[in-house]
């Protein structure tokens, strides 16, 4: 093939794939280290999914409660992740996030303030003290805009010095990378296309930082945008890196499933806290049938008692709608699977018949306005249709905690943000993702820059690899016999949503793997109509390959892990197993097939593990580990 002559070529020291919080922070760091840096953005600059984060960025600054410290934040993070976190990442994150937040103020960020003029911090689930720096409910937007404007300011400095805004840092917007190119085991380049023209582009670079976010588009109901197709996960796998913890996905039990205009948007738990009840299509308030024995004592058995709780919580037991998230999700899942769901595959969340309209508007103003404006749904008049929604993936590229360098057999590849794994263990605390982006974005960018200094020679891109990448990218356009990419995506979403969703069973997971193998055959023959210029069908056809391989990782790891922990719930293994806490499941690619291996978790340093009470550790650790802890405690006393 002679098409290589038409490929635009660029040379950079560091190429950052992804323009969300982690990618932009990494790029800033690489540019500050003096490296010529490219940012590849799948959408326009400043539109990344980071804008969706509402709550805030967790950092133990102690502005609201001075007793807060990195140690407390570290403990909260480990607890939230059910002790499966990479302890070193949790430690670095807790220690460094305050500096990363303060740094944003020097870039122009304007957080909400305390009375004495410091950054205000709010309470959030799982955080012991008020800890989330925030700007109303648009913290993610503030973060992305601040980083975007910092990059512009660096470009203005370069313009003053070199006469060119893009002398040392350039944003390639609406550009998608389809392949990483290697020279032996070293990263040599990244190949992709411009959405606008469909022309190909080759970045020759010794260092690549992946910051591509998550995988939610593989699910039917998700709060994620179209970009979330697991590109970084798949690029890393194909380049020889490994993924860990891919079985852990965060689902919210009550995302809207209908109408389509708000599908995936989360309905806050306070709707249930304020009296909202869950009903199936028979109109039955079904949660009473799903109270597990361990919770029996704390939860009401009759509707009358449950209803009295809202006004008299001291003398009555809680309504079962307020069971933990995974229990509620399990119950919704069971009702839908038993055929008692709504046509859209959810259940009814009814607050309209429970409180006067005025009261609903007063207590839930943003919920009321959001649904009224986006969907013309009046939650004071009609019940909502809700179901579990895919929200965040804890798993991702296995990295060195300090540098963000990808594990496996590839050098020059780094990862930060949602695409990396380990930091959040089996479950992420709200607010920890924004600070994660900043802490590990900076680290990955800085280490990618210093990695390029260690190279004696620049890795070279091999011509046949480029030709192969061109051929793969053009294939869907040249076939006209295959299926539509939209159909294939719907089928993939159905498999993942129905069989590898929030509640998992061995038989269904095995079934999912069979169906994914069938889908792999069909995706290999996908065809896209139309030309190369801004053709979303073609783009989806290319993304499908990534979604598929990442889904296989999730399904395989979910089948393997025979316990329930955080974002992985197995109905056939409903409890946490201390033996499984010592194991990470690692995915790699051999040829075309996903390989799964077990790898022991790194052991927490003694000064960190002694931050916890023995009673708490006893819930997570094996007897053997507890004995070690006791010996340690004795030595210290």
């Amino acid at each position: 093939m002679t098409t290589t002559t038409r490929i635009e070529r660029h040379h950079y020291d560091v190429v950052v794939i992804g323009a969300g919080g982690a990618g932009l922070r990494a790029a800033i760091e690489a540019r500050l280290a003096g490296k010529k840096t490219a940012i590849i953005s799948k959408s326009l600059f400043g539109k990344a999914h980071t804008v969706m984060a509402e709550g805030g960025a967790a950092a133990a600054m102690g502005n609201v409660n001075p007793r807060d410290s990195w140690q407390v934040h570290f403990r909260d993070t480990m607890r939230g992740g059910k002790f499966l976190n990479n302890f070193r990442m949790a430690e670095l994150h807790a220690k460094e996030s305050p500096q990363r937040i303060w740094e944003l103020e020097t870039y122009g960020a304007l957080f909400d303030r305390t009375k004495d003029g410091k950054i205000s911090q709010r309470n959030f689930g799982g955080h012991e003290y008020p800890r989330l720096a925030h700007v109303g409910d648009r913290t993610g937007l503030e973060l992305i805009r601040t980083l975007q404007q910092k990059i512009v300011s660096l470009q203005q400095e370069d313009k003053a010095e070199f006469g060119d805004y893009e002398a040392r840092i350039k944003v390639f917007s609406e550009t998608t990378i389809t392949e990483l190119l290697l020279d032996g085991d070293r990263v040599a380049g990244a190949f992709g296309y411009y959405r606008e023209s469909g022309e190909f582009v080759l970045f020759e670079t010794p260092a690549v930082v992946l910051a591509t976010g998550g995988v939610g588009r593989s699910y039917k109901v998700t709060s994620n945008s179209w970009e979330y197709t697991g590109d970084g996960h798949a690029l890393a796998l194909r380049a020889g890196a490994t993924l860990i913890n891919m079985e852990f996905l965060q689902f919210h039990p009550t995302g809207m499933v209908w109408p389509p205009s708000v599908k995936g948007i989360l309905v806050t738990e306070s709707v249930r806290g304020d009296g909202g009840v869950l009903k199936n299509s028979d109109g039955k308030r079904f949660m009473f049938d799903y109270v597990p024995d361990v919770f029996r004592k704390q939860y009401a058995e009759t509707e009358e008692e449950a209803d009295r709780w809202y006004t008299d919580p001291d003398n009555n037991r809680r309504p079962p709608e307020l069971l933990p998230r995974d229990e509620v999700a399990r119950a919704i899942n069971s009702e839908v699977k038993a055929g008692r769901g709504t046509p859209a595959g959810g259940v009814y969340l009814d607050i309209a018949s429970r409180l006067p309209a005025e009261e609903i508007r007063r207590r839930l103003p943003s919920m009321y306005h959001q649904f009224k404006e986006l969907a013309d749904v009046d939650i004071t008049k009609e019940p909502m249709e809700v179901g579990p929604t895919c929200h965040y993936v804890m798993g991702g590229v296995e990295v060195d905690p300090d540098s963000g360098a990808a594990a496996g057999h590839v050098r020059g590849l780094f990862a930060a943000g949602e695409v990396s794994g380990g930091m959040h263990g089996s479950n992420r605390l709200g607010g920890n993702s924004l600070s994660d982006l900043l802490v590990f974005g900076k680290r990955a960018g800085g280490h990618a820059a210093s990695y390029t200094d260690t190279l004696a020679s620049r890795p070279k891109v091999a011509v046949p690899a480029v030709e192969a990448a061109v051929e793969t990218a053009l294939a869907p356009l040249q076939r006209d016999t295959g299926e539509s990419p939209y159909t294939l995506q719907q089928d993939l979403q159905a498999v993942m949503g129905d069989l590898v969703g929030i509640i998992r069973r061995e038989g269904e997971l095995a079934d999912a793997l069979v169906r994914l193998a069938e889908l792999r055959e069909r995706v290999a023959k996908v065809s896209a109509s139309g030309g190369r210029r801004y053709n979303p069908g073609w783009h989806l056809a290319l993304d499908l390959r990534n979604m598929l391989v990442v889904s296989e990782c999730t399904a395989k790891a979910a089948l393997e892990r025979r316990e329930s922990r955080g974002g992985h719930t197995r109905e056939d293994h409903p409890t946490m197993d201390p033996q499984w806490r010592r194991v990470n499941l690692v995915c790699s690619l051999e040829g075309d097939t996903v390989q799964l291996t077990r790898k022991p978790l790194p052991k927490m340093r003694s000064e960190l593990i002694t931050l916890f009470d023995r009673a708490e550790l006893a819930k997570y650790l094996t007897d053997e580990e507890l004995a070690e802890f006791d010996a340690l405690a004795e030595k210290e006393s």
Binding site: Q99, T106, G108, S225, A528, S529
Partner: protein
């Protein structure tokens, strides 16, 4: 999902008539589609359905589908809107929905336009200048002071305000000299930032960003999906203070003696609009001669004469670099001449701006 229907809807999904502009920079036309529409859907849902059925290569930008990212800007029945925020229920059952790309920017393909103009203007707007003597972690600001800038930082950069602005809509020739509402509020945001070290934001907006082209028709405010008061809270305060500085000889003298841009409060507007700290409330009307929301001034006016009122200095029109008003009759947006008092002046004028002393009261 597409075949499903809400139980609340009851009946089968209806087919609706859509006209969508298809084409690229070489030309194109409106194409008709009959497409299924279900209850509760927005225009973006319908476009997605079209992509999955009749038009798999229909180009359209979108990301969050929740009104937070500003990607799906387009013109729906001629109005600049976010497709994810435009509910199908706002149209009549038999109404044809016409969807076209943003008109102010060059078309790439179908509904996707080249918005790089905005990113160029962003680069030309000087960035936040951190104070040299404040270390990270030592920034102290009051909530009331940051809120002014926070209003402008709500901007999701959908560029609908840029698209609707008549200075550049159909006026390609104005684009080099005009940054547009999005970047006027960026300048205002930095001007009002309690710790920004630059002091020439307003002058810069006037001399380099083309603030003078704006004649306050408020179209930008009308289309803003974030409901930012672009004109009232951003552009008008910037304009007033620019005018003070540029044409007041006292201020000019003062700026030579003091630091450039740090103006002593000497004119009628600067008493209310000098710096962020001096301004009590931005919610009120903020015009030279618009209605007054100042209770003290109102009270004074009620009781007689406001002797402390400073006489407004005459202001020259904001002209472009050729020394001309940035308008000609040919390109002006109305048939007759503009009001000699300016478009933002409404009558009657607020009483505290008038120095009439009632003869009866004078006797006391």
């Amino acid at each position: 999902m597409a075949e499903r229907n809400s139980p609340a809807a009851g009946d089968a999904a209806a087919k609706r008539q859509f006209r969508i502009w298809r084409g690229d920079d070489t030309g194109g036309d409106l194409q008709d589609y009959m497409v299924e529409v279900n209850e509760g859907e927005v225009v973006l849902d319908v476009i997605h359905r079209l992509q999955a059925t009749d038009a798999p290569d229909l180009a359209c930008r979108w990301n969050c589908k929740a009104g937070k990212c500003g990607s799906c800007s387009m013109e729906i029945n001629g109005k600049p809107r976010l497709a994810c925020m435009t509910r199908m229920s706002t149209f009549e059952e038999d109404e044809t929905v016409t969807v076209t790309p943003l008109r102010t920017f060059p078309v790439i393909r179908d509904l996707v336009t080249d918005v790089s103009f905005n990113y160029e203007k962003a680069r030309e707007t000087p960035a936040f200048a951190p104070p040299a003597d404040v270390a990270p972690g030592d920034y102290r600001m009051q909530q009331v002071d940051v809120e002014r800038s926070q209003e402008f930082r709500k901007c999701i950069e959908c560029f609908l305000c840029q698209n609707v602005c008549h200075v550049i809509r159909d006026h390609e020739e104005n684009k080099p000299a005009f940054s547009g509402p999005r970047f006027f509020i960026r300048a205002a945001e930095l001007d009002m930032h309690p710790l920004d070290a630059r002091t020439d934001r307003k002058q810069y907006a006037q001399s380099e960003m083309g603030l003078g082209y704006c004649n306050i028709t408020k179209c930008c405010t009308e289309v803003c999906p974030e409901h930012i008061k672009i004109t009232d809270n951003g552009i008008i305060p910037m304009k007033e203070r620019v005018v003070d500085r540029r044409y007041d000889p006292l201020v000019w003298l003062g700026s030579k003696i003091f630091r450039r841009g740090e103006t002593p409060q000497s004119s009628v507007t600067s008493a209310r609009a000098a710096g962020p700290a001096a301004r009590p409330n931005l919610d009120g009307v903020h015009s030279h001669a618009g209605g007054s929301h100042d209770p003290q001034a109102e009270a004074q006016a009620q009781s007689g004469v406001n002797w402390h009122r400073e006489v407004p200095h005459p202001t020259a029109p904001a002209v472009d670099e050729r020394g001309k008003l940035p308008l000609t009759e040919l390109t002006f947006d109305r048939a007759a001449a503009p009001s000699p008092f300016g478009d933002d002046v409404t009558f009657p004028l607020p009483p505290e701006h008038l120095n009439f002393a009632h003869p009866e009261q004078d006797k006391h």
